[in-house]
């Protein structure tokens, strides 16, 4: 191994910890095929996917989207509509969801990202509220308040993903692949550009980085991840209604990213895990959910800006073995 190769290996972001965790995730159901666990972890996987996308937006572009549940909804409704109402191949539904989401995010991001930080937040909030209305009103396409049911299972070359166990692996394999994609991206020229953008937009721009284009690309990219999550969601629960894609859910996704810790690979996973499992355990207190989300957001922003991942990072750095291998 030449000196140059080892330099390259050294500058790569070491994410061994993440892969170990993933390995555990993959093998767990073999030893512990509890259906409830599978169900919760499938949702966690989907949320991790969406949170990963949003994490890129927060962590690298420094922008906020209040409409990610909406992009999720677009993916879900596209999948539902094209399979149930038109009988097309489900994977086409995925693709169309991605295309439509890309279009919308492009149209929203284009004017907003030239302006200061909160414009995108407001624009996506507006978008979210409007789409909530559309999901309910456009009965012929979305089925109105009753939504669309009877969404068929996904299948690949005849192998049907119609059991929780199979879906669990499908979701987590997709999560793994798309996270690997993000990791590879972060450690490339584009990733350096994004990290530079995050550190100082001014310095990044005078070094030749088209900051606007990067912000827009990151926004569209994060929306696409949400759309894919939405399609996976639709094929799992087989019946979708507009309620699942409200502003409250957009805020929930924001909470996931914030509580997990922005800009780190672990963050979305931790955040999604916490915010999927916690409400399950607190089902009896559903009325307190909203105020809890708000409190988490405010407290973390003021006192723990790096979230749980940041706190873990801090702890791990003190342990000699871990700090060389696991920290991202």
């Amino acid at each position: 191994m030449s000196e140059k190769d080892s330099i390259q290996k050294r500058i790569e972001n070491r994410n061994l910890g993440f892969w170990i965790f993933l390995g555990i995730m993959m093998s767990w159901p073999i030893f512990y095929p509890n259906p409830y666990y599978l169900n919760v972890m499938i949702f966690t996987g989907i949320n991790t996917l969406v949170a990963t996308g949003l994490n890129l937006l927060f962590g690298y572009a420094g922008q906020i989207s209040m409409g990610h549940a909406t992009f999720l909804g677009i993916g879900a409704y596209c999948s539902a509509f094209f399979t149930v109402k038109l009988g097309w191949n489900p994977w086409l539904g995925f693709l169309i969801g991605v295309l439509i989401t890309s279009l919308f995010s492009f149209l929203i991001g284009l004017p907003s990202l030239k302006l200061r930080g909160y414009y995108l937040a407001m624009a996506t909030l507006a978008f979210g509220i409007i789409m909530e209305t559309f999901f309910v009103e456009l009965k012929s396409i979305t089925g109105g308040p009753d939504g669309i049911g009877g969404i068929p299972a996904l299948s690949l070359f005849g192998f049907k993903f119609h059991t929780d166990l199979r879906y669990y692996y499908l979701v987590w394999v997709i999560v793994a692949c798309l996270t690997l994609l993000v990791i590879n991206l972060v450690n490339s020229r584009a990733g350096r550009g994004m990290r530079a953008l995050h550190e100082s937009e001014l310095a990044a721009s005078v070094l030749g980085i088209n900051t606007f284009r990067y912000k827009l690309a990151i926004f569209i990219f994060s929306a696409i991840y949400a759309s894919i999550g939405g399609s996976l969601f639709a094929h799992y629960i087989t019946h979708i209604t507009p309620e699942s894609f409200s502003i409250m859910h957009s805020i929930l996704i924001v909470v996931m990213v914030i509580i997990g810790g922005m800009g780190k690979i672990w963050g979305p996973l931790l955040g999604a895990g916490i915010m999927t499992i916690l409400p399950e355990t607190l089902r009896a207190f559903e009325v307190y959910h909203e105020i809890a989300y708000g409190l988490i957001l405010v407290l973390i922003m003021i006192y723990f800006t790096d979230g749980v991942a940041g706190a873990l990072n801090f702890v791990f750095k003190k342990i000699p073995f871990f700090n060389k291998k696991l920290i991202s």
């Binding site: 927060f58 420094g62 922008q63 906020i64 209040m66 149209l107 929203i108 284009l110 004017p111 907003s112 030239k114 302006l115 200061r116 930080g117 909160y118 414009y119 937040a121 407001m122 624009a123 909030l125 507006a126 978008f127 509220i129 409007i130 209305t133 559309f134 009103e137 937009e201 502003i247 805020i251 924001v254 914030i258 009325v287 307190y288 959910h289 909203e290 105020i291 809890a292 989300y293 708000g294 409190l295 988490i296 957001l297 405010v298 922003m301 003021i302 800006t305």
Partner: protein, 296 residues
């Protein structure tokens, strides 16, 4: 085909509703001018204004006028607490942080109200003219409450203009908007002025809530949409500009009312969103805006 009377009706209701948007927009402007923060919780002040008045009136059986005043005071207090607890401690004042904190605060207010007062729509009677005695102008009717709304909006803007030009606090507020450091060096107590601007903003939000509830009812979740429309109005008129807020609000109200009346009422809310996007695309500074809105 729409009759002239109907058209006039749309216009009149548009101005009425637009005045509410204008008052909310003014709330946004006040905080923005003092702190450069966009307060996502602005709409919640409006919601709280309406909801607390209902509670005082229906639950505690206080007289209506007293309930209104008490409510505005209470929400003003909420605004001050909000500023002290959530805004003041922000160490790194990045835009991202500020937005998330105000989003979080708005969620807290919404969630808290839901727990305390439930999810139902509620209302209280209008100030005057109960029993169906609207004003008639040129063949279109406007509820008396509407007249109060328009009057309040105009008084608010006049009052604020005087405040900003003549009073020491107002001048201090403007100086902070211009250059915070210089203002501080000149002896302006920035912290106190910031708190004052939040208090005023909360008060004006509560006022809007109190005024509009008899017409549109209120519930724990009206804050989001109202806040958004107030924001649209502020952008339309030019962020930070008070007369712009009035113009933007009325214009938005008219567009919404005419759109709902002439095209379709189900998508009424979509109009505000479309207006927002169009303004952002074509003229982000709005009609009268001078605020620096691009990163420079």
């Amino acid at each position: 085909m729409v009759s002239k009377a109907q058209l006039l009706q749309f216009i009149v209701s548009g101005i009425m509703v637009g005045s509410i948007y204008a008052i909310i927009a003014i709330g946004f402007n006040m905080i923005f001018n003092a702190t450069e923060v966009i307060n996502f919780a602005q709409g919640e002040f409006v919601m709280l204004g309406g909801m607390t008045t209902v509670t005082f009136y229906q639950v505690f059986h206080l007289p209506l006028w007293f309930s209104c005043i008490l409510s505005v005071l209470l929400v003003t207090l909420v605004g001050i607490i909000f500023e002290r607890l959530a805004i003041h401690p922000m160490k790194h004042f990045s835009v991202l942080n500020a937005v998330i904190i105000t989003i979080g605060a708005s969620t807290i207010m919404r969630g808290g109200t839901m727990i305390a007062l439930g999810r139902d729509n509620m209302s209280f009677p209008p100030f005057t003219g109960t029993g169906d005695k609207p004003f008639m102008i040129l063949g279109s009717s406007i509820p008396q409450q509407g007249a109060w709304i328009i009057l309040a909006a105009l008084l608010l803007v006049f009052g604020l203009s005087l405040f900003y030009k003549r009073s020491i606090q107002g001048i201090a507020m403007r100086s902070i908007a211009w250059n915070k450091t210089a203002a501080e060096l000149m002896g302006v107590n920035v912290k106190w002025i910031v708190m004052l601007s939040f208090a005023m903003s909360a008060a004006s939000g509560a006022l809007a809530g109190v005024l509009v509830t008899p017409i549109t009812l209120t519930a724990y979740n009206v804050g989001l949409i109202l806040g958004l429309k107030g924001f649209c109005a502020a952008i339309l008129g030019g962020f930070g500009n008070f007369w712009g807020a009035i113009c933007g609000g009325v214009l938005l109200g008219l567009l919404e009312s005419l759109g709902a009346g002439l095209i379709s009422s189900g998508y009424k809310d979509a109009i505000a969103f479309l207006v927002l996007l169009i303004v952002l695309f074509l003229r982000p500074t709005g009609l009268f805006g001078t605020v620096k809105i691009r990163e420079e």
